[in-house]
Amino acid sequence: MTTLTKQALFASRWLNHKSSWLLLLLCVLLIAMVIAMSIGAVSIPILSLLQGNITEQQAAVLSSIRIPRVCIAAIVGAALAISGAAMQGLFRNPLADPGLIGIASGAALAVALMIVLMGPFEGVWNLYALSVAAFVGGLITCWVIFHFAQLTGTFSVTYMLLAGIAINALTNSGTGFLMYISNDQQLRSLTFWTMGSLGGALWPAVLVACTIVIPCTLVLIRNARELNIMLLGENEARHLGVNSERLKRTIIICTALTVGVAVAVSGIIGFLGLIVPHLVRLLIGPDHRLLIPASAIFGAALLVTADTFARTVVNPAEMPVGILTSLIGGPFFLWLLYKQYAGRFGM
C-alpha cells in the first residue's frame, strides 16, 4: 500500500470515529429540541409538528415563543458547556466551572450595575450592552482568579476555589446592595434574572447570542490542540512550541465572552459548565479537539431538556431553570470531589 492511501485510510478512520460521536450527540440535540417545541401550555403533537400540519395559533406560538426559547436554551447551554471545558483546560483541573469560581457572578454584578445605574437601552442594543457589561465583569473576575490560582508559582486548585468563594461573596454582596437600592421594576427584573431563566427569550436574544457564541466556539476549537498540550503544564507547553501567554489570553477572552452573553440573556445558570464536559470526557476522552464541539452539542441538548422540565413541571407557573441545574449540579460536584479524593477516573 502506498503511503498516500495509508494516510487517507488513517485519516478517514480517525474522522469516522470522531464524527460518529458528534453525529450521535447532534441527533440527541435535535430530538430534544423537537420534543421541547411540542410541549407546553399549547400542546403541539410531534407528528403534526414534523408534518407541518399545524393550526395558525400553533404556528404563532411556535414562531414567536417556543422556537426562540428552544434556540436560546441550546445556545446558552452550548456557551456554558464550552466555557466550562475551556476553563477546566486553562486551570488544568476538572473542578473549574464559570459559576463555581465566580466568573458568572462577576458578570452578573456588571449586568446588575448596568440595569440599576444606567437604565435600559433600546431594543437589540440593550442586549448587546448587557452582554458587553457581562463580558467585562467576567473578564475581570477571570483574570483575578487566574492570578490568585498562580500565586504559589504552580497552579493551585485550592487557591482557585477559595478565590472563587471570596469573589462569589463579594459580587453577591454587590448585587444584593444594588437590589436594595433599586426600584420595584428594576428589582423584579434583577431577581428573576439572577435565578437564571430563559423566560424572556425572543429572537433578538437568539441573534445576539449566536453572533457571540458561534465565533467563540470556532476560536476555541482552533486552539484545542494547544489546549491539550497546556494540560502537561505551562512550561512543558512552551517547550513544545505553544505560545502559552497568547493561548491563555485567547481562552480567558473567549470564556468571558461566552459566559458574559449567557449571563446577559439568561442570568446565572449554574453547574452546566461542570457537568457537561465531565460527562463528555467519560464518553470520548479528554481530547479538546473533540471535547469542545461535543460539549457544545451536549450542553445545548441538556439545557433544552432542563428548560422543558422547568417550564412544564410546575405548570402553569414556571420555575427558573437555574434552580433545576443547581439542584442536579450541587450533588454532582460533591460526587466529583469524592471521586477526586478516591483517586479514580484519573483525577
Binding site: L232, G233, L240
Partner: protein, 251 residues
C-alpha cells in the same frame, strides 16, 4: 551545542549564580551536579531558554537562544522537567503524541504515530500505551514523559536534550536503560545532552563531562575523570567520601 557566557541569575535579592560560563558540547553527555539549592534547575532553565537570565547570553549552536521562535526552539531542543501532574484521563500514548506538536504543521499524523510507537518500544513502555496516564505509577509516568521528550526530537539533527532528574522515580533496570539510551543518542546522532542528576555512580558511568555547582560563585567544570575527584566531591557536597567505581569514559 550550548554555550552560556557570564550568566547571572537571581530570585529577588538572592543571587543564585553569577559570572557562570558553561559549555555543553554536542555528541556528549554533560551532567549538572550540586547540593540542594545550588541552582541546578535554574541553570537548566537558562540553558534551555525557558528562563531569561538577569545577565549573560546563551547560544544554541552558535545563535543567541532568544532569536529562535518557540516552534523553532521546540524542533531543536526538548526538556524533561521534574514530575508534572496531569488531572485528565489522557492515555499514555496521547501524552507521548503531544511531543510531536512542534511538527503538527506537517500534517503527517501517520508518521507521528509511527514515531510514537517506535519510541514506546524503545523505552520498554509499549504495553502501557492504552493505559490512562494518571493511573500509572510514578516511575511509569516518568518513562512516558521521557518517551514524549524522545518523540519530540526523533531523528532531529543538532538536537539538544535537557533532562531534570530523569531517573528519580525509576527502578534500577530502567535507570540504566534510559541513561544508556540517552548516551546512544549523543554518540550516534550527535545530540547535545544535559542532565541534572544526584546519583554520583550513574553520573560517573554515563557522562562525559560534569558541571559541579557549589554556590553562587563557585563551580567546577570538566571531563568526568578530571573533575569528579574525591577532593572536588568532598568540597562541593561538604561530605567526606572515597571513590571506588570505574568510569564509563575510562573504558
Amino acid at each position: 551545542m550550548i554555550e552560556a557566557r557570564n550568566l547571572h541569575c537571581q530570585f529577588e535579592d538572592h543571587t543564585i549564580f553569577k559570572n557562570l560560563n558553561v559549555e555543553i558540547p554536542a555528541g556528549k553527555v554533560t551532567s549538572i551536579l550540586g547540593p540542594n539549592g545550588a541552582g541546578k534547575s535554574t541553570l537548566l532553565a537558562c540553558l534551555c531558554g525557558s528562563r531569561t537570565p538577569e545577565e549573560g547570553d546563551v547560544y544554541l549552536n552558535g545563535t543567541p537562544i532568544q532569536e529562535f521562535s518557540l516552534t523553532e526552539l521546540a524542533q531543536k531542543r526538548a526538556v524533561l522537567s521534574q514530575s508534572s501532574v496531569i488531572n485528565f484521563p489522557f492515555t499514555a500514548k496521547e501524552i507521548v503524541m503531544m511531543g510531536r506538536n512542534p511538527f503538527s504543521n506537517d500534517h503527517n499524523e501517520q508518521k507521528d504515530e509511527e514515531i510514537v510507537n517506535k519510541v514506546l518500544h524503545q523505552i520498554d513502555a509499549y504495553p502501557l500505551k492504552d493505559r490512562v496516564y494518571p493511573t500509572l505509577s510514578g516511575g511509569e509516568q516518568q518513562r512516558i514523559q521521557l518517551a514524549r521528550v524522545f518523540a519530540q526530537l526523533w531523528q532531529q539533527p543538532n538536537a539538544c536534550l535537557f533532562l531534570d532528574e530523569p531517573t528519580s522515580a525509576l527502578d534500577l533496570k530502567h535507570q540504566h536503560q534510559i541513561l544508556q539510551l540517552t548516551r546512544d543518542l549523543a554518540e550516534e546522532q550527535g545530540f547535545t545532552v544535559c542532565i541534572v542528576m544526584h546519583d554520583l555512580n550513574l553520573v560517573k558511568i554515563y557522562s562525559d563531562q560534569v558541571i559541579l555547582l557549589k554556590n553562587e560563585t563557585e563551580s567546577i567544570a570538566g571531563d568526568v575523570l578530571d573533575a569528579l575527584t574525591q577532593e572536588n566531591i568532598a568540597h562541593i557536597f561538604d561530605v567526606p567520601i572515597s571513590l571506588v567505581k570505574q568510569s564509563y569514559a575510562s573504558n
